[in-house]
């Protein structure tokens, strides 16, 4: 009861803070500038993508780094666990159905990544779709299958390369003297708005982020699932050296 009152008290103050403000009828601040000038300055049709990868590119690099941190962390936390068996997977029908679906899913993911500068979508969303593919494979075919096809080593390589590619693209701007992550100012071609080849470095950055997120999310899932199988499944034989103390 006290806790409820506590939360309501906080909520009351928050509400008063909102209620005191009046909303402007039109857009002010940098957003107004973005809406007017994005097409001309970056060549991207998707203004949100332009903000994410051009105006505020460093935020996106940070965001990618957050995922990277988590991936590293989860891998680190479970690095000392040993595991022996994987789940058996699902039935034949499910396997066939999924293997039929997978190419389309991959295509869908790539579309989202590559068209990120024109339509809603982008590296994060597409990367998430790629991660879904691996998760699906893991569920349907059992965890060892996915591991045998795409090795953890490959995933980590892809992820690191994605990060480095992002930094490299940013570094081009730095070398051109236009600031880190500069886009058209650094000489990337602007192209025609709405074309596939447009918006300078934004598609490339999308690809970099897509690599990173796809590999990263699937690594997180995979690290967790193989431990969970151990933890909550029937087999509890494995002993962790650190748990003794």
């Amino acid at each position: 009861m006290g806790l409820l009152l506590l939360c309501l008290g906080i909520g009351w103050w928050l509400w008063k803070g909102v209620a005191a403000m009046e909303d402007p009828e039109f857009i002010i601040g940098p957003a107004a500038y973005y809406i007017i000038n994005t097409a001309e300055e970056t060549g991207a049709a998707n203004i949100v993508a332009a903000i994410l990868f051009d105006y505020r590119g460093i935020d996106t690099l940070g965001e990618a780094s957050v995922i990277y941190t988590t991936v590293c962390g989860v891998a680190m936390l479970f690095s000392k666990s040993k595991y022996k068996r994987s789940s058996a997977g699902l039935s034949f029908i499910a396997r066939r159905g999924v293997s039929f679906l997978v190419p389309f899913l991959l295509l869908y993911g790539s579309t989202i990544i590559l068209m990120g500068h024109m339509t809603p979508g982008g590296g994060f969303q597409g990367g998430a779709v790629f991660a879904t593919v691996t998760i699906l494979l893991c569920i349907v075919f059992g965890s060892s299958f996915e591991m045998s096809r795409i090795k953890p080593k490959t995933k980590e390589t892809i992820e690191s390369l994605g990060g480095l590619f992002f930094v490299f693209l940013g570094g081009v701007g730095l070398l051109a003297g236009a600031g880190f992550l500069a886009n058209t100012a650094a000489g990337f071609p602007r192209g025609q708005v709405g074309n596939f080849l447009s918006a300078g470095a934004i598609p490339l950055l999308n690809i970099a982020v897509g690599m990173k997120v796809g590999a990263g999310l699937s690594t997180i899932f995979y690290s967790m699932v193989r431990v969970l199988e151990l933890e909550f499944g029937e087999q509890m034989s494995e002993v962790e050296g650190n748990d003794k103390n």
């Binding site: 103050w13 928050l14 008063k16 803070g17 909102v18 209620a19 005191a20 403000m21 402007p24 857009i27 002010i28 601040g29 940098p30 957003a31 500038y33 973005y34 105006y55 505020r56 590119g57 460093i58 935020d59 690099l61 940070g62 780094s65 957050v66 990277y68 941190t69 988590t70 590293c72 962390g73 891998a75 680190m76 936390l77 690095s79 000392k80 080593k153 980590e156 390589t157 992820e159 690191s160 390369l161 990060g163 480095l164 930094v167 940013g170 570094g171 701007g173 730095l174 236009a178 600031g179 880190f180 992550l181 500069a182 886009n183 100012a185 650094a186 962790e240 650190n242 748990d243 103390n245």
Partner: protein, 487 residues
């Protein structure tokens, strides 16, 4: 350029390490020291560029209103230097102890360093939140790195409380965005005085609560002793020395820039939090039997000292807080490294079991003694000097209660550090006869030498004026706004 590199270089190091590990670990052995050194040098260079005039770096070439901008002024410079030294020492210690084997540690370490530099440099509130999250996640991970149950539990508690803090910061940023439709800190600062008071209050409370949760001020500190005492030695030194200071930096930056003119009662809140953490931290530390836990509670108390300085809201107060932050980095990193090393060598952290340690580990215990004396505030050492300036600041503001709390806290801290030291120097037996390895001794000696030098320096050179200049420059928000927005 240099400001950008200070973030990008450690970040790309973090990306490169797994590749090096996977494709040839000889490269890792070769490149890891270079990476550590490079990050250290670049951070210092960024710090050097911030003294004097405002150094700016525009991302993507966009002006500050549109994009994200990195700003280095005196305040961020001091904290950058602090981060450089603290991270360097931790890196050195860990590298000396473990070599290149635990490569994931270095990945997280470099992510931490990069994001810390980002927080210290950025001039955009949302960008600060992003970097803040990277660096918090890295810190949670470093805490639970050793994977003992204590470390994992402490990491979880740290994570939950830290995440709540992060969401409070996010909420504050959201309010600021709703009210002004921009998140550039200079632009925000310019438009804050016209904001309705109710909104201002919410933003202020969210910011103070969020940053205090991350910094570990008193009623928000509960994760801190767990986390700092359960982590491995190098990480404890890093957390106590550097990580909490970054939160303090954010608190200083945000409170001065946003609320200096608009809502001065924020500073009262900060002062009260400071006094509470000072007394609470010292009182809790005085009954600890675990040496690392004692040092962790002492960190809570020292955060209180710094926050009292911040809460004065004057140039002297900020200068004293900054000076004390720097000193505390030296003292507490050194203390954690010496005490942690000793505890590792004799395989216990209980103070009572350390009887007669002096007669077996002379060098380490001597370094510990100097550092403890410094943190208590024995006169010719740096702890005394910064505490003196804190007292000056609080007297200048006529807040005698804060000044008395400073004095009283120091008395309590003397009592428990003497308890530890007297155990060390009481004759006792039962330790294997060997002195710690040279590099560790060198690090400890370096820290204690720095404490002595920084204590004596204010008598001979006007180093204090330098800090006052940093403080008054940080207070001068008009210049900051002009420098960031008009360029």
């Amino acid at each position: 350029m240099i400001l950008t590199l200070a973030v990008i270089f450690p970040l790309s190091s973090a990306f490169v390490i797994p590749l090096l590990h996977l494709y040839g670990s000889r490269g890792l052995r070769l490149f890891l020291p270079i990476m550590g050194l490079g990050a250290f040098v670049l951070t210092l260079a960024a710090a050097a560029s911030g003294f004097g005039d405002y150094a700016l770096a525009f991302f993507g070439g966009w002006p500050a209103r549109l994009g994200v901008v990195f700003v280095a002024d005196g305040l961020s410079s001091v904290f950058l230097a602090l981060a450089a030294f603290g991270c360097g020492a931790s890196f050195l210690y860990f590298y000396e102890q473990m070599g290149t084997g635990p490569w994931r540690f270095y990945v997280i370490f470099f992510l931490l360093q990069a994001s810390m530099n980002g927080v210290l440099l950025t001039g955009d509130l949302f960008n600060m939140f992003v970097f803040y999250e990277i660096f918090s996640l890295a810190a949670y991970l470093l805490v639970s790195y050793s994977l003992t149950w204590q470390a994992v539990e402490a990491g979880l508690k740290y994570l939950v409380m830290g995440t709540v803090g992060a969401f409070f910061i996010l909420l504050g940023a959201a309010y600021a965005f709703i009210a002004t439709k921009t998140l550039n800190m200079a632009a925000l600062a310019a438009s804050f005085p016209q904001m309705p008071k109710a909104t201002l209050i919410v933003i202020a409370a969210c910011m103070v609560v969020g940053f205090s949760l991350k910094a570990g001020a008193f009623p928000f500190h509960f994760w801190l002793p767990d986390a700092h005492s359960s982590a491995i030695t190098a990480v404890s030194a890093l957390l106590s020395g550097v990580v909490v200071k970054v939160s303090i930096y954010s608190l200083i930056r945000v409170s001065l820039l946003f609320f200096g003119d608009a809502l001065p009662s924020v500073f009262d809140v900060i002062t009260v939090l400071g006094v509470l953490s000072l007394l609470g931290g010292h009182l809790m530390a005085s009954r600890q039997q675990d040496i690392k836990r004692l040092l962790a509670y002492s960190t809570v108390a020292q955060i209180g000292y710094i926050m009292i300085g911040v809460g004065m809201g004057t140039a002297t107060g900020i200068a004293a807080a900054v000076f004390h932050s720097f000193n505390h980095m030296l003292m507490k990193s050194g203390l954690f490294i010496t005490a942690g090393r000793l505890a590792e060598e004799i395989k216990t952290r209980n103070i009572q079991d350390m009887k007669g340690l002096y007669y077996h580990r002379r060098g380490m215990v001597l370094a510990f003694t100097v550092l403890a004396a410094a943190i208590v505030g024995v006169p010719p050492l740096n702890g005394f000097m910064s505490k003196w300036y804190l007292v000056v600041a609080s007297v200048e503001k006529r807040s005698f209660l804060a000044a008395l709390a400073l004095v009283f806290g120091t008395v309590i801290s003397a009592s428990y550090y003497i308890r530890v030291l007297s155990v060390f120097y009481t004759p006792g037996e039962g330790f294997s006869e060997h002195e710690s390895r040279r590099p560790v001794l060198a690090i400890a000696a370096l820290f204690s030498a720095c404490c002595v030098v920084l204590g004596l320096l204010p008598f001979f050179t006007p180093i204090w004026e330098l800090f006052v200049e940093v403080g008054s420059k940080a207070l001068n928000t008009k210049d900051y706004i002009a420098a960031v927005l008009l360029k």
